[in-house]
Amino acid sequence: MALLRCTAAAATTPPPQLATSPRRLRSLSWRRTLAPLHDHLLLASTLRHSSQGRHWLPPAVTCNAQTVVATNMAPGTPVRPTNILVVGATGTLGRQVVRRALDEGYDVRCLVRPRPAPADFLRDWGATVVNADLSKPETIPATLVGIHTVIDCATGRPEEPIRTVDWEGKVALIQCAMAMGIQKYVFYSIHNCDKHPEVPLMEIKHCTEKFLQDSGLTYIIIRLCGFMQGLIGQYAVPILEEKSVWGTDAPTRIAYMDTQDIARLTFIALRNEKINKKLLTFAGPRAWTTQEVITLCERLAGQDANVTTVPVSILKFARQLTRFFQWTNDVADRLAFSEVLSSDTVFSVPTTEMYNLLGVDAKDIITLEKYLQDYFTNILKKLKDLKAQSKQTDIYF
C-alpha cells in the first residue's frame, strides 16, 4: 500500500529539494523524494558539490583526503576490513554493538554528537570517538575516512522531531557513504515497517530501507522487534520500587530480544558474504503481550505490581486529538505506535530460517524468562547485600 503510494507520487511530481523542503509540508513532501535512481544520483551529486565548496578538503592537501581517494580508485592503501564506524554508539543497541565489535577485534570508531558530557565509557572500552551530527551533513564526511563498514544504529531522541536525524540525517549519511566508497552499510530498521505507513518513525525507516536498496551500496538491513533492555526500565524497576506500572490492554505480542544477541548476530551476518544485500528480521524466541510481561515480572520479583492499564482506545484518541494542532504534531508522532498496538498483530517472525541462514543455534538466543530471571536474581541479591551492609554499619556505629 505504502509502496504503491510512493511510486505514484514520484512518477507524477518532480521531487522537491530534500534538504530545504519546508517543515510545513511534512510527510507528503518527503514521501515524494522516494524517486527512481537518477534522482538519488542527482541528490548525491548536489550534496557532493555543495560540500566540496565549503568543507571537503581537496585531495592533494592532506593524507586523509588521499585515503579517501584510495578507497575509490585502484592504487593506494587498502582500507582494512576491521575498521568500522558505529553511528548512534551511545544508544541501547549501539553500545552493545560497539562492545561486541571491540571484543571481536575490530577497530571501532564511534560517531557521537558533540555534547557537554562526552561518552567516556566508549573511550574506556577502547573505541575512538569522533564528534559529528547527522543533522549537520557537513560534519559527516571526515568521520568516514578510512572506514570499511558503517553500522547505523542511530535513532533520534524522543524529544526531538523525528525527521532531522531519522530521515534527513540518514539520507546525508548514506549519500556520504556512497560518495566515499564505504564497502558495507548495516542499517537497523523496524519489523513490519512497510505495513504501518501511518506511524511516522516506521514510515521513515521503510523509506530509508528503500533509499539504501536503491543507493548501490552493499547493505544489510536488519529489522528488529523489541529490546529486552527496554522492559527493565519500563516494568522491572517500577515493580521493585513498588511504583505503578503503566501498560496497555492491547493484545499485541512482541518478540523481545536481548541487544547483546542482536549485536552478536549482526557481526555473524556482517562477515557472511551470502547475506550481502539482504533484509533480515531478528526476532526473539517468543512473542509476549504487555500483560504477560508484567505477570512474569511479578512472579520473579515476588510482589504484585500496581498496574495502571490504559486502554488503547484512549491512546488513539489522544493521538487524534494532538494531530489537530500543528504545535502538538511531534506529540502525535510519539503516540503513533498505538496504531500498531491497536491493529492486533503479532510483532514477530518465524526465526528458524534466520538462524539457519546465519548458522546460529536457537538455544544460544536468550529467552525473556531467562533474561528477567537473571535481572531479578542479581538485583535482589544486591539489595540483600546492601541490607546486610547497612545492618553491619548500624552495629558498628
Binding site: R80, P81, T82, G91, T92, R95, R99, L102, E104, G105, Y106, D120, F121, R123, W125, G126, T155, P158, I190, L201, G226, F227, Q229, G230, I232, G233, Q234, V237, L240, E241, E242, K243, S244, W246, G247, Q260, R264, R271, N306, T308, V310, I314, L315, A318, R319, V331, R334, L335, A336, S338, V340, L341, D374, Y375, N378, I379, K382, L383, L386, K387
Partner: protein, 562 residues
C-alpha cells in the same frame, strides 16, 4: 489549590492515579544509586499523607506544620506541577512509542558494567593486569578485552607520546618503562596480579631479539617475583605466595624424628658373600650441618631417611605445588618417596616416588607433586592432601658420575647429602604470566633460527622463574576479526596455519582464570581447511562459540609443565 485547577484540563482519570502513585517523580528518578537502595521509609510517609505528596523536597525537610512562603510561591508551584505533569506525560506517551530507550543511569550498574553484561567476569575489578606491549597488534586487542571485562589494566610503554596514549583506552594506567632496563620495571609490576607479555622485538637484529624476547621476559619475571616475595615477607609468611617450611636443619634437635633404615629390593645370595654391606647415618656435625651419608655396596640395596610430616595447624599440602629442598653434597641422585593415605591407618598407605638429582656443592631442587608416580602402577595419582611421610632414599643404581670432579675416581656407591631445609612450594590455581611467543612460521628463513633462539630462551627463563605460566605460540598473525574459524591447540610444533590477532587476544584473556592453562605451553592456529575436493579427512572440529568456554576442554588434554 492552584495546581489542581491548572492540570484539570487534562483527563482527570490519569491525573488522579498518577498523583497518588507518583509522589515525587523527579527526585526518585535521578538518584543514580536508587535502584540498589532498599525502599526508603520517608517515601512511605509521603505516600500516606494524602495532600502532602504534591510538595517537593522543601516540604519534606521541614516538619510541615503550616504553609511556608515557599508553598505558596507561584514559581515553585508551577515548577512542581510541571514536574508532575512531565512525569505523567512521559509515562503516558511512553505507551504509544515503539522504542523506549531506558534513559536511566541506574540501569548501567546492572546492564552495562554489572552482572547482566555478557562480558563481565566476577572478581575482575579486583584484578590488576600488566600488559607489556600494549600497542602491539595483539596487545591493543588484549587491552580492550580486559577493559570490557572490567579489569584494572596497566600498560607498559616505552615513551608516553600522545599518539601512543591515544591508542589506549583512557582509564588504562600508563607506566613508562623498558623491558630491557630492569630498574624501570619495579614501578610497573607494583600492585599487579598477573602479567600478559605480548611485546616482541621490532627487528630481527640479534641484539634487539635478545633485549626484548629473552632479557625482557627475564627482567619482568624477576621484577614480578621480587614483588611477590616482598608481599610474602610483609605478611610474615601468611601470604598465599609464601612457602611452607616442612623441616629446617639448624640444630641437633631438628634431627629428631628422622629415621635411617636400610633394605634391599631383592635377596642377592652371591653378593652377600663378597663385598656386600651398607651403612648410613644422619648426624649433626660440629660445623653446623645436618649430614646424611653412608655407602651401599649390596646389589639392590638402599638406605633411606624418613620422617612423618607434621604440618602447622590449618595447613594442608594440597594447597602446595611441590617440594623445594635445599641440599648440598657430592652430586648423587636420590629418590623421594611420599607415603599417602589416611594417617590413622598406615597399612593402607600408597607409595609415590620421584627422582631428584643434586650437584656437587649446594643447590635447590624443586620436585613438583605432579612428577610423583605411584610405585604400584594401578594406584591413583598422588593426592598431596593425604601425604603423611617423606622419605629420601639412596640407591647405587642409575647413578651418574658428577661433572667437575674429573680425574679422581668416584665410588658411586657412597653418598653424602647435607640438608639445609625442605619447604613446600605454594600452588596457584591460575596462571600468573602469559607469554605470547611464536612458532617460527612466517619468519624469513635466514633469521628464523635467531628469532626462535631468543624466544626459546625467553620461554625458558619464564619456566624457571617459579611463576605460574602460560606460553601461547600462535601461527602467523592475521589482522581480521576473531571467532570466525575453529582453532587447533597443539603441542609439538606441528601447526601450519595462521591465526587472527583477536583470537590470540581472546585466548590470553580466557587463560587468565583457567586452571588448565597453568604451566602449559601450546601452539595454536586456525584449523586447516582443505580445498574443495582435496579433503583427506572429515572435518571434526567446530567453530568455537564465544559464549561458552572453548579453552578449558582444549587445554585439559595437553601436557602440563611443558
Amino acid at each position: 489549590m492552584a495546581l489542581s485547577s491548572k492540570i484539570s484540563a487534562y483527563p482527570s482519570k490519569f491525573l488522579g492515579q498518577s498523583l497518588s502513585f507518583h509522589p515525587n517523580p523527579t527526585t526518585i528518578r535521578r538518584s543514580p544509586t536508587h535502584l540498589l537502595l532498599p525502599p526508603r521509609c520517608d517515601k512511605r510517609e509521603v505516600d500516606s499523607t494524602g495532600d502532602d505528596n504534591v510538595e517537593s523536597e522543601t516540604a519534606r525537610s521541614q516538619p510541615s506544620v503550616s504553609l511556608t512562603l515557599d508553598d505558596v510561591n507561584p514559581v515553585g508551584l508551577g515548577r512542581r506541577s510541571r514536574q508532575i505533569f512531565d512525569e505523567v506525560w512521559r509515562k503516558f506517551s511512553g505507551l504509544g512509542q515503539i522504542s523506549r530507550t531506558p534513559t536511566d543511569e541506574t540501569l548501567e550498574t546492572v546492564l552495562v558494567r554489572g552482572p547482566m553484561c555478557e562480558f563481565t567476569i566476577p572478581g575482575a575489578q579486583d584484578t590488576t593486569i600488566l600488559v607489556v606491549g600494549a600497542t602491539s597488534r595483539i596487545g591493543r586487542i588484549v587491552v580492550r578485552k580486559l577493559m570490557l571485562r572490567g579489569y584494572k589494566v596497566k600498560a607498559l610503554v616505552r615513551k608516553a607520546d600522545q599518539e601512543v596514549i591515544d591508542l589506549l583506552p583512557r582509564s588504562v594506567s600508563v607506566v613508562i618503562g623498558d623491558v630491557g632496563e630492569p630498574s624501570t620495571l619495579k614501578a610497573a609490576v607494583e600492585g599487579c596480579n598477573k602479567i600478559i607479555y605480548c611485546a616482541t622485538a621490532r627487528s630481527t637484529i640479534t641484539a634487539d631479539l635478545y633485549r626484548v624476547d629473552y632479557q625482557g621476559v627475564y627482567n619482568i619475571t624477576k621484577a614480578f617475583q621480587d614483588y611477590n616475595n616482598r608481599l610474602a615477607q610483609l605478611r610474615a609468611g601468611k601470604s598465599s605466595k609464601s612457602k611452607l617450611l616442612l623441616a629446617k636443619f639448624k640444630s641437633a634437635e631438628s634431627l629428631n624424628g628422622w629415621k635411617v633404615c636400610q633394605g634391599t629390593y631383592f635377596q642377592d645370595v652371591v653378593g652377600t658373600k663378597y663385598d656386600a654391606g651398607m651403612d648410613a647415618k644422619f648426624e649433626f656435625t660440629e660445623t653446623g650441618n645436618a649430614v646424611f651419608s653412608g655407602y651401599v655396596f649390596t646389589r639392590g640395596g638402599y638406605v633411606e631417611l624418613s620422617k612423618k610430616i607434621s604440618l602447622p595447624l590449618g595447613c594442608t599440602l594440597d594447597r602446595y605445588d611441590g617440594l623445594l629442598l635445599s641440599v648440598g653434597g657430592n652430586g648423587r641422585s636420590f629418590v623421594l618417596i611420599l607415603e599417602a593415605g589416611p594417617s590413622a591407618d598406615t597399612s593402607q598407605s600408597k607409595l609415590y616416588f620421584a627422582r631428584m638429582s643434586t650437584k656437587v656443592g649446594f643447590c635447590r631442587v624443586r620436585v613438583p607433586f605432579s612428577s610423583f608416580r605411584p610405585v604400584k602402577p594401578d594406584d591413583p595419582p598422588l593426592d598431596p592432601f593425604l601425604v603423611h611421610t617423606l622419605t629420601i632414599r639412596f640407591e647405587p643404581r642409575r647413578q651418574r658420575p658428577s661433572e667437575g670432579t674429573t680425574g679422581t675416581t668416584q665410588d658411586l656407591r657412597s653418598f653424602k647429602l647435607i640438608m639445609e631445609y625442605i619447604k613446600a612450594l605454594p600452588t596457584g590455581q591460575e596462571t600468573d604470566f602469559i607469554l605470547v611467543s611464536c612458532t617460527g612460521l612466517g619468519i624469513e628463513q635466514n633469521r628464523r633460527d635467531q628469532v626462535l633462539k631468543a624466544k626459546k630462551a625467553g620461554e625458558e627463563s619464564l619456566r624457571r622463574s617459579g611463576l605460574g605460566y602460560t606460553i601461547v605460540r600462535p601461527g602467523p598473525l592475521q589482522e581480521e576479526p576473531g571467532g570466525q574459524r575453529a582453532l587447533i591447540f597443539d603441542q609439538g610444533n606441528r601447526i601450519s596455519q595462521g591465526i587472527s590477532c583477536a583470537d590470540v587476544a581472546d585466548i590470553c584473556v580466557k587463560a587468565l582464570h583457567d586452571s588448565t592453562a597453568r604451566n602449559k605451553s601450546f601452539d595454536v592456529c586456525y584449523e586447516y581447511i582443505a580445498e574443495q575436493g582435496k579433503e583427506l579427512y572429515e572435518l571434526v572440529a567446530h567453530l568455537p562459540d564465544k559464549a561458552n568456554n572453548y579453552l578449558t576442554p582444549a587445554l585439559s588434554v595437553l601436557e602440563k609443565n611443558t
